[in-house]
């Protein structure tokens, strides 16, 4: 490693450590005005009463602040619950927004300085490390030493990284009030784009997009000379930046509902929720377009494009989850389980989630037309179970947190209902396949090892069989790492796509059906 790269790595670690320390900075002091400003009018009186003991007190840390806050708040609700006075219970979670308001100190005063000192420093460090990668080396496969790397083969560094990611997601989804300083430092950026203060979701989107962009540049370096990889990485970088990050914020600026035009139900599981439908219906022509476009994607986009190109058009060229997996997750792709057992579990799980998502949505739609009569409770229950178990725990905590343990496509492989839907089309009605080149396979195992979806590619290749699998996202890495030019991703005629009884070319004595 060059000296410059080592410096880059150190700078990255420095920025990362600063980022991780920022939540512990500053003091917290809640005032009556803050509560009046941030809390819904119907709760203002109650909240002012509840939190009165905290007003004017300076807390040294958010832990102390939140300890008092939670105690007071719980006490209030607890009494009401005991009395079964359900209407008075405050279900809204004000912890995040009030902690953010109460935060005082350097981060609040100079947010951009902290943003620069943490995230920007980390990005610069990462780029100093990434840009010179493989600089003086010829184009080719750069997998040397992956299984000697602690980070990439479940060593201590990998485990620490996974643990950090899991912790980050748990805080983000369920305890965002502990990371208010991080959100605070993004306020100026958020205001510049949408005019609003930053939420934890803005922070998340910001880091997510940066991760895809920076690690996307790493992909350009690593797969230099491989046009397919370059184009598809460029594509996910574009869709994340434009469609997932900027456009929705601009919609907010225009007083429209937040909307990601490339997200498709059932991955976008809340698409048919009443607040989303109402939001779209009340947003004029553009809102109507969102609704119609979303439905076109579901009923036409997915089947037609998947028929022509396979599910890769979405999973490894457009999707945000796929985008992160293919960039940030690329160093971990070899960690996916290739066993037959894993494949069996995968099919149960991913189709189970699809069924869950479809049923939940049906109930939601019926409920919508019944005007929340019969199924109101059930719908809410289903939404909260799905949101917690699938939307947050599975897609987020496990989906990304498990990169260093089970590879970069855990969510896409075991959980994503859209991947399941795309996969069904790809398996049964598509022109896409990975063609095996006659009898040239030497069973080396590179293809299977580097398949992020855990497909045992070699099983097919060594028997001269084309690979047609519902889970294949068409990343093209098996083809890239194959040392003998055996695999090619292709769209072509449906005839002969699936060859159940392949014959290995080259032996004229007998025709062995594999």
């Amino acid at each position: 490693m060059k000296k410059l790269q080592i410096i880059g790595l150190l700078v990255f670690v420095l920025g990362f450590l600063i980022f991780s320390y920022i939540p512990f900075l500053g003091t917290y002091q809640l005032e009556k005005e803050m509560v009046e400003q941030k809390v819904k009018p119907e709760h203002t009186d109650a909240m002012v009463r509840i939190l009165k003991p905290m007003f004017g007190i300076e807390y040294d840390s958010n832990f102390d602040f939140l300890a008092d806050f939670n105690e007071l708040f719980k006490e209030y609700n607890y009494d009401l619950k005991v009395r079964q006075d359900w209407d008075q219970v405050i279900w809204d979670d004000y912890a995040f927004i009030l902690t953010k308001s109460a935060s005082q100190g350097d981060v609040q005063e100079t947010p951009l300085l902290f943003l620069g000192g943490s995230i920007l420093v980390a990005v610069i460090g990462a780029l100093i490390y990434i840009l010179p990668l493989y600089k003086d080396e010829p184009e080719g496969i750069k997998n040397n030493g992956i299984y000697f790397s602690s980070m990439k083969s479940r060593g201590v560094l990998g485990i620490m990284t996974g643990a950090y990611l899991i912790l980050f997601y748990v805080i983000l989804y369920w305890f965002p009030e502990y990371m208010t300083n991080l959100v605070l430092m993004l306020d100026p950026v958020s205001k510049a784009i949408s005019g609003n203060e930053a939420s934890q979701w803005f922070l998340y989107g910001f880091i997510y997009t940066l991760a895809i962009l920076v690690m996307g540049i790493r992909m350009f370096r690593k797969y230099k000379g491989n046009t397919y990889q370059t184009l598809r990485t460029g594509s996910v970088m574009f869709f994340q930046l434009a469609f997932a990050f900027l456009l929705p914020e601009i919609l907010i600026l225009l007083n429209m509902p937040w909307h990601d035009f490339k997200n498709i139900w059932p991955l976008d599981y809340s698409f048919f929720y009443d607040y989303r439908i109402d939001g779209m219906l009340s947003s004029g022509a553009l809102g109507m377009f969102m609704l119609v476009w979303g439905i076109i994607l579901i009923v036409l986009g997915v089947p037609v494009l998947t028929y022509i190109y396979g599910k890769r058009w979405y999973c490894s060229w457009v999707c945000g989850c796929g985008g992160l997996a293919e960039t940030l997750g690329d160093p971990y792709r070899q960690l996916s389980d290739k066993s037959l057992k894993a494949w069996k579990i995968e099919r149960y799980m991913i189709h189970g989630v699809l069924v869950f998502a479809v049923l939940m949505t049906l109930v939601t739609i019926v409920n919508y037309f019944m005007e929340f009569g019969l199924l109101g409770q059930a719908t809410d229950q289903l939404h909260s179970i799905y949101g917690f178990a699938i939307g947050s725990a599975f897609a987020g905590v496990i989906g990304t947190g498990f990169y260093p343990f089970m590879g970069n496509r855990v969510w896409c492989r075991f959980g994503c209902p859209l991947a399941a839907y795309l996969g069904l089309v790809q398996r049964f009605k598509s022109r896409f396949r990975i063609t095996t080149n006659g009898g040239q396979c030497i069973s080396c195992g590179n293809c299977s090892t580097y398949c992020e979806m855990g497909i045992d590619v070699r099983w097919y290749a060594q028997r001269g069989q084309n690979i047609v699998r519902s889970s294949c996202v068409g990343c093209g890495i098996c083809s890239a790492v194959c040392p003998r030019g055996v695999l090619k991703l292709e769209n072509g005629e449906e005839e002969g796509r699936i060859n159940e009884m392949p014959i290995l070319i080259g032996n004229k004595s007998v025709s062995v059906k594999s």
Partner: protein
């Protein structure tokens, strides 16, 4: 021929032996099948050994079948070295004294690296590379070394150079020939690989032979002397000067051997119920005019196994009749594929059309018969070609014109790869004064079809 309860024992769990075992089981539900190897319990891909050293994979990734596969298919596995074969009593004697009876014996014992009696060839730090034990030894032998010397410019030699270079160990590569592997490759291809080897900072010494290996006081290698009188200091010497059939434990038995175990086109040895396949076998007559008596590549091993399995399970034994030759390799970053017959040098009966990309790392060579312009074979470097296409074109004796004007269909390069086939066609038209064109593909079809 499926007699209930017969015991088929296969010595060697490489691609030949395992393919044979698998295919016997497919057609014979009854036979007892036992595969014996002292190297590993399970079948692994020998061609992938280099990737373990380079950290691309671990040993477990090189196993083409999961461990449950063998029990599921009732293929018995035994990890043992066979020391004596008692052909008279149909018995094998293992290193631990156990004896194993057989009804049918298949020998698929593979190869062993050549050593040509150099002074110092048995010093510590001097080795070949064939087995997993060799790989383990290489791991040990290359710890904290300053320089390695690889002797022998063939496929294993260049792999070893690549392996060492992946660990940033400086490599001096001694090649006896004028150019790398030029007893197989025509001049331009060999030179192309020469350049690529140097691009990887390998100290390539052409027309240089090993004279002796020098050791230190504790019998560890400390250098080599070349035939040019130069001494090169090194702490590791890779001897990769070819392999020979691994048949030492059949010496002094009544099994007929020459360089390998002598067999006919049905893989039968001179002893009834005893067969040999793969690297260790030597055909009494070459299977085809362009084939050697000893076939030592992955693909032939597989075909031997397939054919013998058929013969052992079907009433109609077939002689071994390989189709159009094909092979492949990878030299550092440059992939090589070949189909049909491409000799290193040729006389006026044959013609050659050669195209090389201007960056000098991609090329194609077509060999054709001069009298009728029919294609004989093709070499491809950095250019993936469709096996099915050339198997058909060569066996049907397509004219070179037809092959070239269908090159877009023969192209197996990844999507969005540069359309090199167009450059090939252009040069061909210029050289031959022809006006060949690829079939037009309608825009819509290009949009939904695969890009080539």
């Amino acid at each position: 021929m499926s007699k209930a309860g017969r015991k088929i024992v296969i010595i060697g769990n490489g691609i030949s032996g395992i393919t044979c075992a698998r295919n016997i089981r497919k057609s014979d539900d009854q036979a007892e099948i036992l595969v014996i190897s002292g190297e590993t319990e399970h079948f692994f891909s020998r061609t992938a050994l280099m990737y373990i050293y380079m950290g691309h994979m671990k040993y477990e990734h090189t196993k083409p079948y999961e461990d449950w596969f063998w029990e599921e298919n009732r293929i018995g596995l035994l990890k043992a070295w066979i020391e004596v074969v008692d052909f008279g009593n149909k018995k094998l004697l293992c290193h631990n004294g156990n004896s194993i009876a057989y009804d049918i014996l298949v020998m698929a014992t593979g190869s062993a690296p050549n050593k040509f009696g150099w002074a110092g060839q048995d010093l510590q730090g001097v080795q070949g590379l064939y087995s997993i034990q060799d790989l383990e030894m290489m791991e040990e032998n290359t710890q904290n070394i300053q320089r390695a010397v690889v002797v022998g410019g063939g496929l294993i030699g260049i792999e070893m150079a690549e392996m060492l270079a992946s660990r940033n160990i400086p490599v001096t590569f001694l090649v006896r020939e004028k150019n790398f592997w030029d007893n197989v490759l025509p001049l331009e291809e060999a030179e192309l690989i020469n350049r690529h080897i140097k691009e990887h900072h390998i100290d390539l010494r052409l027309e240089t032979e090993l004279n002796e290996i020098i050791g230190d006081k504790v019998n560890r290698v400390k250098g080599v002397k070349t035939n040019k009188g130069e001494t090169i200091e090194c702490q590791f010497v890779g001897l990769t000067v070819g392999v020979s059939p691994n048949i030492s434990f059949f010496r002094d038995t009544k099994l007929a051997i020459n360089r390998g175990i002598l067999i006919d086109e049905y893989f039968r040895t001179n002893i009834p119920s005893v067969y040999a396949i793969g690297d260790c076998a030597e055909f009494k007559e070459a299977p085809a005019p362009d084939r050697k008596n000893i076939e030592q590549v992955w693909y032939t091993g597989r075909m031997h196994g397939e054919t013998l399995a058929h013969n052992l399970t079907s009433g109609k034994p077939q002689p071994y009749k390989p189709g159009i030759w094909f092979n492949s390799a990878k030299f550092f970053d440059i992939e090589y594929q070949t189909y049909g017959w491409v000799p290193p040098v040729w006389d006026s009966k044959l013609g050659s059309f050669y195209w090389e990309d201007k960056r000098g790392k991609i090329c194609l060579r077509f060999i054709y018969e001069n009298s009728n312009k029919k294609i004989m074979g093709v070499n491809a470097f950095g250019f993936r070609l469709r096996h099915e296409f050339f198997d058909k074109a060569i066996s049907e004796g397509w004219l070179l014109d037809k092959v070239i004007s269908n090159l877009d269909r023969a192209n197996f390069n990844p999507e969005f790869y540069k359309p090199y086939h167009k450059a090939v066609l252009e040069q061909y038209n210029k050289e031959k004064g022809t006006n060949l064109q690829f079939a037009k593909v309608p825009f819509l079809k290009r949009l939904i079809g695969s890009r080539t």
